[in-house]
């Protein structure tokens, strides 16, 4: 009789997860988005990914992540944001590796900025064409470039805000569930209070009062208000597990509360908590899009999917402004929901039993 290898819980869950084609497709899609977000400046941009100028190698494209990363020499030499001709004129020896699509997410490309490339169409004339695969908005900015760069925002919003919410939620839930008594009482009431705060209204108020509203602050608020569901679930799990035999064993072996919570209960309580986090990512992305749609999103010139939808609102005949970002938001949210569902099915033993 062959020896049965006993796999860990997570390995088993992963095996079950892998068998679900939809959930796997969703995971692949999210990985693809992560790839797009990281490589955004190399996919669409007007600044070289790498270039050699006056004997030095630079990566001006990094300035898309943070404008402080733009090498000062190009400002000094009065490149004024247009690289192709300036590179050639100011240093004939120079070479550059260009992004796949020569389009900028923040401005319209001018006539002949790239040899042979016409200026981007403006007004309502920016139908999808050879140079602008997804068309342009009213001001001539390429929609594809905006979407590619907007991926960063869409993903960051989900991960950052839910990372924050998850941390707060698990800590609060763990403390309440494990200790019980008045601590539980207090934390549960706090949870209920926070539950009553309307996130959107809070963000709108913040935008009005904060001096430099950035996308990070928005994420922080989504996270700081979105942990309540996670906390409740975590509390329930901790409440259930603290009276289980292995916890009793650990305690009788002399383990302190912190050790018990982190080493013994948390790994066992994590699976059900991950599910609302995944769903939370999806809703955070929707919240951010909704905010941008209302005009309260990341400050302009922002490349946010929701902001694109907002542009479309004033002229519905420009269907490409609705269709592409709309599809992107839909697919991303769907992907997260599918992942959440797959995760739930893969980790919940009861669901597994019922399938048999």
């Amino acid at each position: 009789m062959p020896e049965r290898v006993s796999h860990g819980f997570w390995f088993a869950a992963w095996r079950r997860y892998r068998r679900k084609p939809l959930a796997m497709a969703a995971l692949v899609f999210v990985c693809f988005l992560i790839g797009v977000a990281i490589l955004a400046p190399a996919i669409a941009g007007t600044k070289p990914v790498l270039c050699r100028y006056k004997g030095q190698i630079y990566a001006p494209c990094l300035s898309y992540f943070d404008r402080r990363l733009e090498p000062a020499i190009f400002v000094k030499d009065r490149f004024r944001g247009t690289y192709p001709q300036n590179l050639r004129e100011k240093d004939p020896e120079s070479w550059a590796i260009w992004p796949l699509v020569f389009q900028d997410p923040y401005r319209a490309v001018r006539d002949n900025e790239w040899p042979g490339r016409p200026a981007n169409p403006t007004k309502d004339e920016g139908h999808p064409n050879r140079f602008n695969l997804f068309g342009t908005d009213q001001y001539g900015v390429d929609v594809l470039a905006k979407m590619v760069h907007g991926t960063t925002v869409a993903l960051a919003v989900g991960f950052v805000s839910m990372g924050l919410a998850g941390t707060i939620g698990i800590v609060v839930g763990a403390l309440g569930g494990y200790f019980g008594g008045w601590i539980d009482m207090l934390l549960s009431r706090v949870t209920e209070v926070v539950m009553c705060i309307p996130t959107l209204v809070l963000i709108l108020a913040l935008v009005a009062f904060v001096d430099k509203p950035t996308i990070w602050k928005t994420m922080a608020i989504i996270g700081a208000t979105g942990w309540t569901g996670i906390a409740r679930l975590a509390r329930g799990e901790f409440l259930r597990l603290r009276s289980s035999e292995f916890v009793l064993a650990a305690r009788s072996a002399g383990a302190g509360p912190l050790r018990i919570m982190l080493r013994h209960i948390l790994p066992n309580a994590l699976a059900p908590v991950l599910v609302p986090i995944t769903f939370g990512i999806a809703s955070a992305i929707l919240t951010e899009s909704a905010l941008s749609f209302l005009g309260f999103g990341s400050p302009p010139p922002s490349a946010s999917w929701g902001a694109l939808l907002n542009d479309a609102r004033s002229n519905l005949s420009m269907w490409w402004l609705v269709a592409f970002p709309g599809i992107a938001i839909f697919l991303t949210v769907l992907a997260y929901n599918l992942i959440g569902e797959g995760l739930q099915e893969a980790t919940d033993p009861r669901l597994r039993e019922s399938r048999k």
């Binding site: 404008r67 402080r68 733009e70 090498p71 000062a72 190009f74 400002v75 000094k76 009065r78 004024r80 944001g81 923040y106 401005r107 319209a108 403006t122 007004k123 309502d124 009213q138 001001y139 001539g140 935008v207 009005a208 001096d211 430099k212 509203p213 005009g295 400050p299 302009p300 010139p301 907002n310 542009d311 609102r313 004033s314 002229n315 519905l316 005949s317």
Partner: protein
């Protein structure tokens, strides 16, 4: 416009103020309609207007705006003063006589058949459809559905401050004065028998007609006017807009039921606007005013708010909050003591439909649910060109004196230096903004007075063309150089290296944000960092009012008189958000107000404009022209620098033909 719109000076001022403050914020006010598509309504916080009003210097303590005054007897006045007659005119007649001399460019049928795709077509439509009706040509039983973007704050005549209130009080309010499409003031023949000014400029005497009644049947008399003046100047009454200007009067006294005399503090060129304020019925408010000086809290004032006593040709018969306001022609306006004493206004019923979203209102226009609306440039260019629009409607455009600008806060280390402000103007791609962002529909602006106005300089000022080299040279000169090699210019201020990075406040309207984003790109090219901060209008108002900004995007509507812009430019003035100060400008404004000769006045204001152009406290961007869509059933629209409605006759020149 109907008589009533005659209280224009005020409304005027109110409006100016509005467009002013509100303009900044993105809500077009009266005469400009609404331009923002994401602002719910024209709401102006009272405190703000009150603040603006306070900036006019008072000679009395703050708790008492009026000093006691014993008006001399009328015979003594008549004996001492030398009177000259001032014009008493009928706005419609005036327009009729003006139109007689203008060539007709097309017939009505032609004008209705063409599409407004270029200037000649626009001229034809304006010419053919702007004509007043021949006798019996107008359908006096007609109803018009007008578009307003927000509900009324108040129906009390002296509480007006927004464009919607202005529109409705223009039809239901009583007034003595008005001005024509060239902004020339006159007394309206419908209410005034004679108007005289003293040659020393200190007195104005008006004799009212004796056939005027309020909608409750009581006569309208000179006492109502003197009474209203007292109410407006009562510091307990929270008058949002109409106090400024009125506060320049020394006293108003009614000598009998018909004769009222305005006493001025000083002989000012603006006195002709100062005597023009809305009028309350004395018999209604006399007792309630003392009991409740807010004029809106007590039961009786709440009732009056719902169904006010009207002194104009129309009265409010229905008011559904947030939906519509219905006005009906009032017979006691035209027929007094069984005799017809005034012409019937052209519409029997006027319905104001409140629609906030511009897309919804455009759909309503196309469906024939409303008969007129102001169009956004984007709607003008892209959504009103097809047969679906021209089936029921047509559209026209005309210049309007509403300008927009970037304001630079001179109180910050960045913009204290004039060279820096000029560098901003040279860095900005003005042409691209006009062509690409504004669809080529707006007129470039380079100063605070419109180039076609009498006070504009003879030599036309033009906006700076983008010249990045010049901008960089100016910044270098001003000491903003990239010392620390991080790609951003900086300068040592108070021993600290300050990078040239600042924020611009802007209303969330997409076009305005796009213009600021263009500025951001341009400045990035010369090593200056700009953060664009779109925000809600109320927040923007507050921050600019408190001078808590580095730069902002805003706009002003021009007043009927150049003096109204003094509180934007004079040192320390209420709406001088950029903290601009130039003694010469202060002096020229003071002189301009006292100069009674038009030519010499014009020179002073032209000089002010030249100085401002040199100093560039603003980078002026564009004049926003009027764009209107009208039902094909409408005739008689004529545009003034303040749009198609806010002058005399204005709205009251509109009519509908009899059905064939």
């Amino acid at each position: 416009m109907l008589q009533q719109t005659s209280t224009d000076r005020d409304w005027q001022l109110a409006v100016i103020r509005l467009v002013g403050i509100v303009g900044i914020v993105g809500i077009g006010a009266a005469g400009c309609g609404r331009q923002s598509d994401d602002i719910p309504a024209d709401v102006l916080p009272e405190s703000l207007v009150a603040e603006a009003a306070r900036t006019k210097p008072f000679t009395t303590p703050a708790d008492r705006l009026l000093e006691d005054f014993e008006p001399p007897a009328l015979d003594a006045l008549d004996r001492d003063a030398k009177w000259i007659d001032r014009p008493v005119l009928d706005g419609l007649e005036l327009m009729r006589s003006q139109q007689k001399d203008e060539p007709l460019l097309a017939t009505v049928e032609e004008a209705l058949a063409i599409k407004n795709d270029a200037a000649p077509a626009n001229a034809k439509i304006l010419s053919a459809l702007g004509q007043l009706p021949a006798p019996h040509q107008a359908n006096l039983e007609a109803r018009i559905d007008r578009h307003v973007v927000g509900d009324l704050g108040s129906t009390n005549p002296i509480m007006i401050s927004t464009s919607a209130e202005f529109d409705i009080l223009g039809l239901t309010g009583f007034g003595l004065f008005s001005f024509d499409s060239r902004l020339e003031p006159f007394a309206t023949a419908d209410t005034v028998a004679s108007w005289q000014s003293s040659t020393d400029g200190m007195l104005d005497k008006v004799v009212l007609r004796d056939d005027l009644v309020w909608s409750d049947g009581r006569p309208i008399t000179a006492h109502d006017i003197a009474f209203t003046f007292q109410v407006i100047m009562d510091p307990r009454v929270p008058v949002p807009a109409v106090r400024s200007g009125t506060d320049q009067l020394r006293w108003v006294h009614a000598y009998d039921d018909q004769t009222v005399v305005f006493f001025h503090k000083e002989a000012l060129a603006t006195n002709v606007w100062n005597i023009n304020f809305p009028v309350l019925p004395k018999h209604v408010y006399e007792r309630t005013w003392e009991a409740d000086p807010t004029l809106k809290d007590s039961t009786i004032h709440v009732q009056l708010e719902q169904s006010p006593v009207s002194g104009g040709p129309y009265e409010i018969v229905e008011r559904k909050r947030g939906q519509q306001i219905v006005l009906k022609r009032r017979s006691s306006w035209t027929t007094v003591r069984g005799k017809q004493v005034r012409e019937d206004p052209f519409f029997k019923e006027i319905r104001f439909r409140i629609i906030e979203d511009p897309n919804t209102s455009l759909l309503a226009l196309k469906a024939g649910e409303i008969d007129e609306m102001m169009l956004l440039p984007e709607q003008w260019t892209t959504q009103t060109t097809g047969d679906d629009f021209y089936e029921r409607s047509t559209k026209v455009t005309a210049p309007e004196w509403v300008s927009f600008h970037f304001g630079w806060n001179i109180d910050t280390p960045f913009f204290a230096d004039r060279r820096v402000r000029r560098a901003m103007s040279y860095a900005f791609e003005h042409d691209r903004m006009l062509e690409e962002l504004c669809y080529g529909l707006y007129t470039p602006a380079a100063g605070n007075f419109h180039e076609t106005s009498w006070m504009a300089p003879k030599k036309k000022l033009v906006p700076a063309k983008q010249d990045l080299d010049k901008a960089e040279a100016l910044l270098d000169e001003a000491g903003w150089v990239d010392h620390d090699n991080d790609g951003v210019r900086d300068k040592e201020v108070n021993g600290r290296l300050v990078p040239f990075e600042f924020s611009i406040l802007v209303n969330q309207q997409p076009l305005r944000v796009a213009i600021c984003t263009l500025l951001q790109q341009n400045l990035e090219q010369v090593g200056v960092r700009l953060n664009v901060r779109p925000m809600e209008s109320t927040v923007l108002q507050q921050l600019t009012q408190e001078r808590k900004f580095e730069a902002y995007f805003g706009g002003w509507g021009a007043g009927t008189d150049p003096d109204t812009s003094e509180n934007i430019w004079a040192t320390g003035a209420g709406r001088n958000f950029t903290s601009y100060s130039n003694p010469e400008v202060d002096r020229l404004f003071a002189e301009g107000r006292r100069e009674l000769d038009r030519e010499k006045r014009a020179e002073k204001y032209a000089r002010i404009q030249e100085i401002l152009y040199e100093d560039q406290p603003y980078t002026w961007l564009y004049w926003r022209n009027s764009f209107y869509g009208f039902s094909k059933d409408l005739r008689g629209y004529v545009f003034s620098p303040r749009g198609p409605y806010h002058y005399s006759p204005g709205f009251s020149s509109l009519w509908m033909p009899q059905a064939e």
